[in-house]
């Protein structure tokens, strides 16, 4: 079970990797994306997205602003204008 996760900023492709789950702070509430999620688009509130590499591990937090998330057949793509850390 792996979800392909991509984090892209205008300057570069920050992440492109397989992860277990990503929790995204959507403007209308947080949502978690696992593999096989239905196609979905949402704007993302400024805040931290949590990346769970494995099922049990601690999440890695990435702070983003000006984000937009898209879930498609290829996995989850987060477009963000700024990424911290």
């Amino acid at each position: 079970m792996a979800l392909h996760f991509e984090l892209v900023t205008p300057a570069k492709l920050v992440r492109s990797e397989s992860v277990h789950m990503v929790v995204v702070p959507g403007t209308e509430g947080e949502f978690g994306v696992l593999e096989g999620h239905a196609p979905f688009m949402s704007t993302v509130a400024d805040g931290a997205i949590k990346v769970y590499k494995t099922e049990s591990g601690m999440p890695e937090e990435i702070r983003i602003t000006g984000g937009f998330a898209e879930v498609g057949e290829k996995g989850l793509t987060v477009l963000a204008e700024h990424v911290e850390g």
Partner: protein
């Protein structure tokens, strides 16, 4: 005929000019690689965003209720020309080509009875456009304090443009910049940025995509970002073009300096020889007279 000393001075001065142009050429070559890499790494974001805009566009129809950035103000009286130039010279006709394209467009629009305003980015286009259209410069955006115009600058430009647009200062905006084809070829390009040209509709899969919030709202949120990305892309293309143009121009300059040095050296040697010959003749004539 110039004296030997004068010739020597000229040769030396041309030599030091050559050193400068050669150095600038090498700097441009190095920077070009960096600028190209930057343009390359900006592509995924732009491509994804365009995709998303495309799939959104296929879902909604442009109507009066659509965001103004997409639907326009309903008139096209006032045109804003956003002209992106570089801050530094020594890059051949790079800046004047962009300015020329903008000027042609401005004249064309004026002939159609439209009002033309300018929004200048970068230092180099200012003088030329200010001379011709002294009262029509709406704003000059300064990029001299940053090394390479990046996304932050694009963001600021886009925000200012949107603010001006919403205040009703203009109806249509065109962006002028130089598209990077190769180090030898840069194309001055005119691109309409406001209202945002309706993205090409993409039919994506059969799966029904959920939207949160509604399509319209997402679109409204994405339009300014799309604009920023477009401007950012233009700035990057411009940066790469500038370095490419600079490299070519400096290569030519270096070669010309080389030719000039050769010519001057030949002239120098000839006059030196002539001087020696005259001196010898004088000595011999003097000796014979004794």
């Amino acid at each position: 005929m110039a004296s030997l000393k004068e010739l020597k001075g000229r040769i030396n001065s041309v030599k030091s000019t050559q050193k400068i142009t050669k150095a600038k050429q090498m700097v441009a070559a190095a920077k070009l690689r960096k600028a190209q890499a930057a343009a390359e790494s900006a592509r995924p974001y732009a491509a994804r965003l365009a995709e998303v805009m495309g799939s959104l566009a296929s879902k909604i129809t442009v109507s009066e209720n659509s965001p103004k950035l997409l639907a326009g103000t309903g008139s096209d009286k006032v045109h804003l020309l956003v002209v992106a130039n570089s801050d530094k010279g020594l890059c051949g006709a790079f800046n004047s080509n962009i300015v020329k394209a903008a000027r042609v467009k401005a004249r064309e629009l004026e002939a159609q009875g439209k009002t033309v305003l300018f929004y200048l980015v970068g230092r180099k286009g200012r003088a030329a456009l200010r001379r011709e259209f002294p009262k029509q410069i709406a704003h000059m955006f300064d990029t001299t304090d940053v090394r390479d115009p990046g996304f932050n600058e694009a963001e600021r430009i886009a925000d200012e443009l949107v603010a001006m647009y919403e205040a009703g200062k203009f109806d249509v905006a065109h962006l002028f910049y130089s598209k990077f084809r190769s180090a030898l070829l840069q194309e001055p390009t005119d691109q309409q940025i406001i209202p945002v040209p309706a993205p090409k509709a993409v039919v994506s899969g059969d799966a029904v995509t959920e939207y949160e919030p509604e399509e319209e709202e997402i679109l409204a949120a994405l339009l300014p970002r799309y604009l920023r990305t477009q401007i950012f892309g233009a700035l990057l293309e411009n940066a790469a073009s500038e370095q490419g143009a600079s490299m070519t121009a400096m290569d030519n300059a270096t070669r010309n300096a080389g030719d000039l040095i050769q010519k001057l050296t030949i002239q120098y040697n000839r006059s030196r020889q002539a001087a020696i010959t005259t001196e010898l003749i004088e000595i011999i004539a003097g000796a014979e007279a004794l």
